[in-house]
Symmetry: C3
């Protein structure tokens, strides 16, 4: 269990506070046709789960390989995000191109995230096998695809977030600390 | 749960009845060395599971990347199948080339199908991890690799079929309706 | 259950005894900075699990795509190994390049091994989803990535080894026989 790590140490990381990107991928939300709910759901999860200070970087883009790939490059390379959580575009429909855009820019894929998210979502709906969510790293940034529905987002984040702080450590991203009452983050040897 | 969808609506889809391809991939069966049992097992499953009318398109080809890829292109593009179920050629043996042939022609892979089929097959035999079955879409056609043994086919179809009607809707294929006493197909929001 | 196979038949395979490669992938171990424990853990597992005679081929190389790919080619092609078990280099850290090196040299991937190892490791630690282990075949050789920690090695080998003897049969490798008190190897039809 992650305990006793000094939050002050985190606060004085020479690169400043951890930066978390929230990328909403949706044709309709990007046109303003409806109020985005999924970015908000991710933000709420982070607010109750991450107890070290962090900065949110929000972005809404339409579906598409290039739109997703370009936004991810901008958020990891220019905006210097340590973690980017995407929502939307992971199904089998013709406009669902988030995994393709993600694979364009990650240098190594972490298959375990997609497997885990499909597995826990299967306990909710049999159509979870249609989800093509994946995850991977781009330099010091971890990118994770989440589903589009707010309720499914929570199910998936609860399942994968325990592994995220340690993953950020391993790739040299800025560290984050989670609230142990909400999320059992694990750092081997910690 | 899928209820109340009007079967008459399905019947009058302007493109006609749903077309389901059954592709038997086997050197021996294609030479006529033995009577195919796996195509029959798939057909039996469909007959008791799909309650809307559908047309079967059967084909037997030898193992091989090209033989599989060509047959899948013909069944999806020329024969206009909405769904193609393959059987055979998914193990690690040198002549098992069905996943390679399938990946040649699908434009997006649905990893969750293979994961799910291996997972339920593991409850039967520990060698289920040797299976390389996958699934994916080609335009408006969903292609799913099934194992070669009739008993394993039933285990896998029972596991993945609940997600298939909704998947066909999402990719713009002709709709199919299942018998709710046999298969708990799920359409979110239906 | 695998019973009644004649061990003498195995011993007189015209190609001689089965050869099992153990490849330790670690910058530090290859420099001699510390005593390798993971290769030893694999060796111990094999000694108590494989009851037919076999020959160990050991090698330690630094992390890296080329170092891993070259060692695997040497062990499968020149050293004529039937099975190569690697340890180390499967995480998300920048120097973890074992899956990339493995994918360079296998001709077909067996996704079920990685899924299974992540799944059983998840029962131990939530960070198991960070593991990128895979497996695949190169000609008559089966290559399986294992984790780096000795305790995790045992968990993974216990999970996947039951499928290995049958896999070796299917790809035309020399057969191995396991101790049924330790490992429930399964050969369909045997």
């Amino acid at each position: 269990m992650n305990r006793g790590r000094n939050l002050d140490d985190v606060a004085v990381d020479s690169r400043g506070l951890a930066r978390v990107g929230i990328l909403v991928i949706s044709d309709r939300a990007s046109r303003g046709d409806y109020q985005d709910e999924s970015g908000k759901a991710i933000n709420n999860f982070l607010n109750r789960t991450v107890r070290s200070n962090w900065i949110a970087v929000m972005k809404i883009v339409p579906d598409g390989i290039d739109s997703v790939a370009n936004a991810l490059v901008e958020m990891s390379d220019s905006e210097d995000c340590d973690l980017v959580l995407t929502t939307g575009g992971t199904g089998p429909s013709p406009r669902d191109l988030t995994p393709e855009g993600t694979r364009m820019v990650i240098t190594r894929e972490l298959e375990g995230f997609g497997e885990m998210m499909r597995r826990v979502s299967l306990e909710q709906v049999p159509t979870a096998i249609l989800s093509r969510q994946t995850a991977g790293t781009r330099g010091r940034c971890l990118i994770v695809n989440l589903p589009g529905r707010p309720s499914a987002i929570d199910v998936c984040l609860n399942a994968v977030f325990p592994a995220i702080p340690y993953c950020l450590d391993l790739i040299g991203a800025r560290p984050i600390e989670v609230n142990p009452d909400v999320c059992h983050a694990f750092r081997p040897g910690a």
